[in-house]
Symmetry: C2
Subunit: 532 residues, 2 copies
């Protein structure tokens, strides 16, 4: 099948030009000597000066590449050129000859945008909002390049200060390491995805710097940190005597919830950096972000968008994320439109209808849902109901403001409703949902894996099909063969291209495949060599 | 144990006076000839004239009782007086000699407020918001009477019109029946709970009137209803030709989602009626509402508040609701406070802290969470952070604006922050979450039950303990003995009073019991005679 796919592509696409040398990317504010983004296997060197992590202007960056692939693919300039040459297509994974990805991770993506295939228009939705609003919608008209990006790193965190507030000597032995994987599914341009793939883990590192000592101390985290040395710790319960004793007792805060908070705030700071730098650095478009952090025995899965993570453990499927789409977040979006009607302009209504309301139906009664309802009821159609609904469509065709099909992610600061000045960003959230999996609570075998995939995988592959592929591919390899996880990632990408499912676009062999870019990480949860 | 409890109460409480005769209750707008609220067993007679269900003023009602109990308890004036006499305590259930409740339902509640017990102050929380805000909070300082109310009915729904819009003859044979159970846990006065127990099912009936024909037609519900006879049904897909064909296809709406929408809107209309009539009818306080509707083979469980419903099926526990409290709805409340800061006045902050911030901690860094976070992070304390947090406390002590411990329910339109004009109602939602259970998908045995209980039960009893009691009590009765479900409800109430758990208040026998009112419905899901 692969050969047929390859020869078909050779007829359809023309070669792209050689990309310019990879430019310097935007960096974290004040992190002057931050290590390069790609440093597989070895923990990072700590920066000479720890930055404050606050929102100060970033350094200027000269230019941006038109096309780039994850650094860990170790593509030479020639390899990058070939990857951009759609005729020379093959599923991309890190080279066998190079150093393995951290944690024996498997990775695969196709180096081309699938929309160049015949029939890709099936995935293209047109929506009309009066005639002037007829347009292609985000994520449907695909760009020529693969807008997915990925990152896989081991990151060293140097503590910023001691718990008592006293500045302490920078001592590498007292720092923390975390493993990091990120998938970034770009839309409307590759800039946001590429920026996130280079910087989000550094924002997480910045957020964790204050927690290095606290996370390594088994006692509960202090609720309050003094700013000057010698100040008594005001989290001392004696402060609660007197009138305060009428209060309910103080809440217990876990170490785990501090890491969750650090990841959440890192997403927000990443998004704020994109907003600040979007002009200077051409941060076009936006991206969904699915990130995994392994720290001190626990796996944190943070998802903002429609990518998905599942654990396959002894054949059992454990969902580690949920998707954020106009359908799953309908009530949040509608509530915002209801509370802030100025965000809807005069063109949109926060009410949902099962189809477009026609002017001649004024006065009739149609089914609707508002921000409080999960069921449907009839209402009399009024003039305002003829406006375009804030949320419309179903499944992959669901859209916010007739434009975008995901509701969480990074970037999209310039995104406007077509032929309008209405910004869409207020309805999008940059905050991920973070789920935690305690790796120490279960004895894992080498076939237990965490699979991360962008929506291109899950649109045409069920969780059960992924679990079956895990079983089929891994059983064909020796447990200590580290290439098994890369082979699995490749098999998942190839399978998603040709799955006979009634959606997506038609392959030359008359099967249906995903119309989206596909990127997959396979992270082994146990077994020999996986904890490298 | 019961005797010891009884003699202890006899020493502690004084007899209440005889209650006035039960007054006429407020009624549904324009439902002039609605049947009386209590009509167990027999389906209702249809009203002679179907009302419009719109928000028109209700009829005037002369007076309100200071104390009332569910009508199906069939208490005579003397019985009601004895129920209000705390010395004569016994768990209340419908009399054995009377007609059974519909569906062989079991019911039990204690006829007194448990806060009259020694040690009930344990359940009382004081919060200070500066000294002027020191006060008892809602749901902690219990009223003298049981503020719980209940309703169990069979309701007949006469269709209002035909789908084609033509007024059709009122024909009883074409109507629908639904079974209805409601538990209403009142706070800060019994008015809202009593009003809801008398009227909410009528609001549901009003909402269903438009759906009678649609729900009995197996074809998908029409998306649009014409208003005049003869108008072509505009849900015809031919209307989607032309420019509309660019649209995504119309959504499928199920019959089930229409019933869900009807229940949701009935809750809202009930709440609006309370707002309109709160002065004329002395609708004091508010109430949580847990409602079950059985219609056309499906069980709809609608919950707004902190009551709970579980199904115990073959020993397995199936949760049928979740609780809405300041903790479970923290992010919704914080988002509202963030988007509408005027609702917080100058006294509250939408941020959450793990304990009260002290003025001397200004400039230090304390853990916090905002509306987007599930984890915690440190922030520098600023002047605004010294305000009282919108959400504070944990578990049963969690409060919105230092006042109320539940976040959904009916009423509370007059509720203000103490010593302030700030209304709390904007943060409360009257909308239930509705879960659906298809009774036809499983073969039920006589021991399978749906248990509804107010928080007084669940505060001291786990789901598993309830399931064990179900097994223990029902196995002691013949399957066709209908009193088994009432015995089970009584056992659950008695068990919750004396459970040895480290919360609540201390019983004379040194056990700990619930400090709250307790009401329990047990609804059998199968077996002989249960579908009466």
């Amino acid at each position: 099948m692969l050969n047929r796919v390859r020869s078909a592509v050779a007829h359809l696409v023309s070669s792209g030009g050689a990309p310019p040398p990879r430019p310097k990317s935007p960096d974290l504010p004040n992190a002057a000597s931050a290590p390069p983004a790609a440093a597989p296997e070895a923990p990072r060197s700590p920066p000479a000066k720890a930055g404050s992590g606050s929102a100060t202007p970033a350094k200027a960056v000269e230019t941006r590449a038109s096309f780039s692939r994850p650094t860990f693919l170790q593509l030479s300039p020639g390899g990058l050129r070939r990857a951009d040459d759609h005729a020379g297509r093959a599923v991309q994974s890190p080279p066998d000859t190079g150093r393995r990805l951290p944690w024996s991770t498997g990775y695969a993506d196709p180096p081309f945008s699938s929309s160049l295939w015949p029939g890709s228009q099936v995935a293209v939705t047109f929506l009309s909002l009066a005639s002037r609003h007829r347009r292609r919608v985000i994520n449907a008209g695909k760009s020529r390049h693969n807008e997915d990006q990925a990152c896989c790193e081991v990151v060293y965190v140097e503590g910023r200060r001691s718990v008592t507030g006293a500045p302490r000597e920078l001592s590498r032995g007292q720092g923390l390491c975390f493993y990091y994987w990120g998938l970034f599914d770009g839309h409307a341009g590759g800039g946001a995805a590429e920026m996130a793939s280079r910087l989000l883990h550094r924002h997480i590192r910045e957020q964790l710097k204050d927690l290095v000592e606290i996370l390594q101390d088994p006692s509960p985290p202090p609720l309050c940190l003094p700013t000057t040395p010698g100040t008594p710790d005001s989290s001392d319960p004696s402060h609660l005597l007197g009138p305060q004793s009428c209060w309910s007792s103080q809440k217990e805060v876990t170490h785990e919830s501090l890491v969750v908070g650090a990841i959440e705030n890192a997403f927000q700071l990443m998004d704020e950096q994109m907003a600040r730098e979007r002009r200077g650095h051409q941060v076009e478009g936006g991206c969904c972000a699915l990130v995994v952090v392994y720290l001190l025995g626990k796996v944190y899965v943070a998802n903002a968008g429609d990518s998905r993570a599942i654990i396959v453990r002894n054949g059992e499927i454990i969902p580690m994320s949920r998707e954020f789409t106009p359908e799953t977040e309908r009530q949040r979006l509608q509530l915002l439109g209801f509370l802030k009607p100025e965000l809807l302009g005069s063109e949109f209504t926060h009410l949902e209808f099962p189809r477009r309301v026609l002017p001649k139906e004024l006065g009739q009664r149609m089914l609707y849902r508002d921000q409080n309802m999960t069921g449907w009821a009839y209402k009399k159609i009024e003039l305002e109901d003829l406006r375009f609904p804030l949320v419309c469509g179903e499944g992959k065709k669901a859209r916010v403001m007739a434009t975008i099909g995901v509701t969480r992610g990074l970037g999209d600061h310039n995104l406007k409703v077509c032929s309008s000045t209405l910004p869409i960003k207020p309805f999008l959230s940059c905050f991920p949902e973070v789920r935690v999996y305690d790796l120490t609570q279960y004895e894992h075998c080498p076939d237990d894996v965490l699979v991360l995939g962008t929506d291109g995988l899950w649109d045409v592959t069920t969780d059960y099909e992924v679990a079956a592929t895990v079983d089929r591919v891994l059983s064909a390899y020796e447990p200590n063969d580290h290439s098994r996880y890369t082979a699995l990632a490749q098999a998942l990408v190839l399978g998603a291209r040709g799955t006979p499912r009634d959606r997506g676009w038609r392959l030359p062999n008359n099967k249906l495949g995903s119309g989206d870019d596909i990127s997959v990480f396979v992270i082994p949860l146990g077994g020999p060599g996986s904890y490298s």
